[in-house]
Symmetry: C2
Subunit: 409 residues, 2 copies
């Protein structure tokens, strides 16, 4: 087995060159299996087909949200007579291959959930003892994305198990994005994740807590990435991403301002944009946040450099992410001004770009990505002010002005 | 002075027979005095006049929101040559009597803020040493409501000072609602408030923290009233109310669900409904919450009995408030089902009315006050189910069915 592990030390599946975008069922629909009393909200093929239709018809797909992924609670309690996983026959009467086919016919990719352990977190069969057959089953079903959770397993086994399942995924020769929960379980157990191995195995991985439907939860996640950025941020890049968990925009717990804050911060994080919301009933202002092209473009920037917190004082944070275009060695930047304060009136933040590390002498063209305001060209020493609402954000794109150097001021 | 205090031991100003309703500047506009750079949001006569116009023109007044009250930062830094308080002349160029008159002409009442101490919380002149002259100044200006804060004073002095200022208010013979911060400052200092004296002095009083623009803050307040209900709740009644602080509905920090939760809980609390929001820009769904007639009717129920938490488990709370009509000794009730959970999917709560203490044999007519659904007549032992969204609420009115007793079950 050691030999096998050695041979899978480099992830070369060519997938997820930018952070995955799509829809996942967990945060909004959880493990609701009661299709008798709650047919419109239970985990069933119908739910995923409805979401796929909306993703196509309402423009989400064409903005990049191309994945529709099943999460926990899709399985039967037992494997079939040949030892293969099978979906719950009442809730997925057409079977998983048909659901996968449904997605592919609509230009979408199809994701599935499993767990490296004896059981999934909700108690359905896990893959332990069946890694090879399950990888090949997924390939045969046309799966494009596998989220592998870590309940009911030993975190110490994960350094072997996650790469081994990745090896089998590769062996199928079907390209599948591989989403891992490996580091978060190890961190909780007091282990130090081996990020070199994780990067070489997984396309994305969860570092921290499951997101919950609250601004408090979003803030804890933001703090985790800020407080641990020296260790976490360098691991992100094309093909391998930190995953701060799903977008909860449009659900019950975030205000409009807080929803913009999550979207902006997930763009700074180069995070997967995995919506988990009822797209049938989402209010238009939240849909507009999820469909904001400028913010999506920052998230999907081809350089794939995750941003960092560069300022934090009195409830005001400033985060910066280097993005394209790059000119004469100077990056463009996405800058998020995040207001963590709860006094009910906006806070003014006043900075120079040079203070933020943006020193290109010809200056930067600045655009507010939520309200669309263009600030024109701003030189590095010009003072620049934004008003940031409580629990809100201002996200600007600062684009290097290409031209002859040294002309400025 | 002791003699004086003795003579003011009963509050007989006839005011606030139901909880005051209106608009206060603090939570949304704070101490923004920068009318040069931020003329539309600074504390100025113009702001209060604009709010008054909207309160009249958009139906708030006719629903009960009849108070417009100035909060801190309206004052000049110095008293006038006669030792009287004066408004900042640049921000209130017409003067306070004109502003008060503006309100009265529109069928509104006018409130003002001061502090029983050397300074207000924001550092403007306090009333200490000027109690009599300030009370008479307010009366002369046509003030209808005085909020008296407690910064820069000794909480031990408040047992004497708050009644003394109330005595002078009464001496003016102008009826003024008297809003006190007395118990909250004493509690913070480790003192036990003398609620008998407070009830006999103040029309309303703050028990706990200033509200902030967050669901977390609203939850802390809800917990305070639930955890201390044995001491706090009996003090409320017509003319004397616990004040859990302003409504933050329509601002930056609460989601739609959370906003309904605050409105519902403030109705259960028999709390003053003091909006602090920019009524010029509030979104229609939040305005609809503030203008919900059924919820306002619960809040303003003439019995004036504050509700209590009667169930709390696994993030689900049930709160009950006895209201009119009363028939054969049986109260009607407002019942709030509050979901404190953050897992992203609604929770079903199933109860019988008898479990909630509603045992009238003919049953209760039940109406959901937010979605308007009528459940018809529900007998005490009939199981009754509601789905409650995360950080949301279901508020129902359970009205006794008048009829011949003993017919049912």
């Amino acid at each position: 087995l050691l030999g096998v592990c050695g041979s899978v030390s480099s992830l070369e599946n060519g997938m997820a060159r930018t952070p995955p975008m799509g829809w996942l069922s967990w945060q909004r629909f959880r493990c609701n299996t009661d299709c008798v009393n709650d047919p419109h909200h239970c985990i069933s093929e119908s739910l995923f087909m409805q979401m796929a239709d909306i993703i196509v018809n309402e423009g989400y797909r064409d903005l990049g949200y191309q994945l529709v992924s099943v999460d926990d609670c899709w399985l039967s309690r037992e494997r079939d007579t040949r030892g293969r996983l099978q979906a719950d026959p009442h809730r997925f009467p057409s079977g998983i291959p048909a659901l996968s086919d449904y997605m592919h016919k609509r230009g979408l990719s199809f994701g599935i959930y499993e767990d490296y352990g004896n059981y999934t977190c909700a108690g359905y069969p896990g893959i332990l003892g069946h890694l090879e057959i399950d990888a090949f089953t997924f390939a045969e079903w046309g799966v494009d994305y596998v989220k592998l959770d870590g309940c009911y397993s030993h975190p110490t086994d994960m350094d072997r198990g996650y790469p081994l399942f990745g090896y089998y995924l590769n062996q199928t020769q079907r390209p599948m994005v591989y989403s891992c929960s490996w580091p978060v379980y190890q961190t909780y157990s007091g282990l130090t994740p081996n990020y070199t191995s994780i990067i070489n195995t997984c396309n994305l991985w969860r570092n921290f807590d499951d997101i919950q439907d609250s601004w408090e939860s979003v803030q804890r996640i933001i703090d985790y990435y800020g407080d641990n950025q020296q260790v976490i941020v360098p691991n992100a890049g094309p093909g391998h991403w930190n995953d701060p968990d799903m977008l909860i925009i449009g659900n019950f717990g975030l205000s409009y301002e807080q929803s913009k804050s999550q979207m902006a911060m997930w763009a700074i994080f180069a995070a997967p944009l995995l919506m988990s919301v009822d797209l049938r009933t989402i209010r238009p202002e939240f849909k507009a946040i999820l469909q904001n092209k400028g913010v999506i473009a920052v998230n999907q920037d081809p350089l794939g450099i995750q941003g960092k917190r560069i300022y934090k004082d009195k409830g005001i944070e400033i985060w910066a992410r280097p993005i394209t275009p790059v000119f004469q060695g100077h990056y463009s930047y996405a800058i998020a001004f995040l207001n963590r304060r709860t006094d009910g009136t906006p806070s003014e933040v006043s900075v120079t770009l040079r203070e933020l590390g943006l020193a290109y002498p010809n200056g930067y063209g600045i655009t507010d990505l939520f309200d669309g305001v263009h600030y024109g060209t701003v030189l590095p020493d010009k003072r620049f002010k934004v008003d940031v609402n409580p629990s809100g954000v201002v996200l600007v794109r600062c684009q290097v002005i290409k031209g002859s150097a040294g002309a400025a001021r």
